[in-house]
Subunit: 296 residues, 2 copies
């Protein structure tokens, strides 16, 4: 089996647009030698999200997919349900607001009193709710081939992105088999995941046949969001947290981290893995070609 080494950008339904000028800004400063230098830094703008008449949150975002961010945020906070009829989504660029309207009338005044700050951010989620909702989650047994993981990893790592260009940003990619579909980035890791949730809601996409790949660490919140989105597999280049692993094991999510070249570690849901690739055949990663700034 030959692992694809060439990037097939045609795979993507939504790919990053690192040269989209409105997502980065040129800023002048000085370098270590005292010489003037101009670098591109990623944009970060406030976006206020309303659900019907209620103001819910202001999110700082790079501003590329405000409607998906709003929809996905609300969905992942359980304020919008998968079976809700979304009547309108209105983005006002000047006011930097998005209003999501549903046929069902909503009132989350009470829900918004309690907040959880997780290792990322779960504004508006009642901690108890967050854990309770997981009790109902049943994730599909969909098998995942290790050959897919290697191909995805290679394709995603080679995709030109803001991450590679300007640093300071997190990416999450919705995948199917060995095909990356929707690559979202943002300054906040949770924004990137919410944008994917918003896209899935908008497109009425299935979740049980998907894999979520992230550049970020596999915290409890990432695991919870992935499970709540009905996606049975979460993979990352990065590391784990103990609670994230525990939750993954509880809900039966396949959790794969520390993916580099041929290596990875699976700490949950190993039963979904079909080992159809010979790790020794997988190319080592090239050394950080083209990375400006540090990933964080």
């Amino acid at each position: 089996m030959q692992l694809a080494q060439n990037l097939d950008i045609g795979d993507y339904l939504i790919a990053p647009e690192p040269s989209a000028t409105r997502l980065t800004r040129a800023v002048q400063g000085v370098d270590h030698n005292g010489d003037e230098t101009t670098i591109r830094v990623v944009e970060e703008r406030p976006l206020t999200i309303f659900l019907n008449k209620q103001e819910i949150v202001t999110a700082m975002t790079i501003g590329d997919y405000p409607e998906y961010l709003a929809l996905g945020f609300l969905r992942n906070q359980h304020m919008v349900r998968d079976d809700d009829e979304i009547t309108r989504v209105d983005y006002d660029e000047e006011l930097e607001t998005v209003v999501v309207r549903t046929a069902r009338s909503t009132d989350y005044e009470e829900k918004m009193r309690r907040k959880t700050r997780t290792s990322g951010c779960a504004v508006g989620t009642v901690f108890g709710d967050m854990m309770e909702g997981l009790g109902d989650v049943v994730l599909a047994d969909t098998p995942v081939r290790t050959s897919w993981l290697y191909v995805l990893s290679a394709k995603i790592n080679r995709t030109p992105s803001l991450y590679l260009e300007a640093g300071a940003i997190h990416g999450t990619v919705l995948c199917q088999g060995d095909r990356p579909l929707v690559y979202m980035e943002d300054v906040g890791r949770h924004n990137a995941v919410d944008k994917i949730a918003g896209w899935m809601l908008s497109e009425k996409a299935t979740s049980e046949d998907k894999i979520l790949y992230t550049t970020g660490r596999l915290t409890s919140e990432m695991v919870i969001k992935t499970a709540m989105m009905g996606i049975p597999v979460l993979a990352s280049r990065s590391g784990f947290t103990a609670w994230g692993v525990e939750i993954a094991q509880q809900v039966g999510l396949t959790l794969i981290g520390r993916m580099k070249g041929q290596r990875f570690v699976c700490l949950s849901g190993e039963e979904r893995l079909i080992r159809d690739a010979d790790p020794a055949q997988v190319a080592e990663e090239p050394r950080r070609a083209g990375r400006k700034g540090s990933k964080t």
Copy 2:
């Protein structure tokens, strides 16, 4: 001038404890070859913070400094002021709660209604408040020598930490001159900063003579927190965001990013810099010695 290459752990008032067993957990799984493997992953536990009678937030944290986290969080949310008399701070390990009590009676019911999810998390902060509070900030003109930055960078990068050991974690270090003082880590970058704020409040430490160094990206929220803590210099290995730069320029903070070996970029507050080091003399960074897992 000779740049220190040897780590002087005696510098630290608080240093990371990567071998502290309660901060990481051994977890079993399988590797890419299907062989059983055991890796250490960082802990992540909920900590509920109360201010007097009011429950404020639940934070996910590695759990090393719950009292500092609570104090610093409340301080950075402007719920506890620098001149408040803190009468008690009680941590209950079993209930995983911390109660901070002040002489002044407090009621933040109204304040907690509005939330901002920033690129990290600013739970409980009214977005408008966050920006307004900045108008009053005046940061000291304290000069910062580039030789200090190089020494700090080298010392911090060589300090054994959970970051290096288990990945999946962010570190922030309070420094003075070329001396790192307090190195805090946590799964959430903002927790690490809040723990430092809590330490500073507890020790009544001065801020105008300090430098804050972080492994994380220089988002608007990091810049705002640093400014609100009265620290005039913020430095990182990582990248910037446009809003972070803008705010830094507005409040007159010295903002230095992309620090690697001899290189760095300063996008704000260059006037504080005293270039007393020859960049050419600064050693290149060693290649990622000892890094397990990926940094995110």
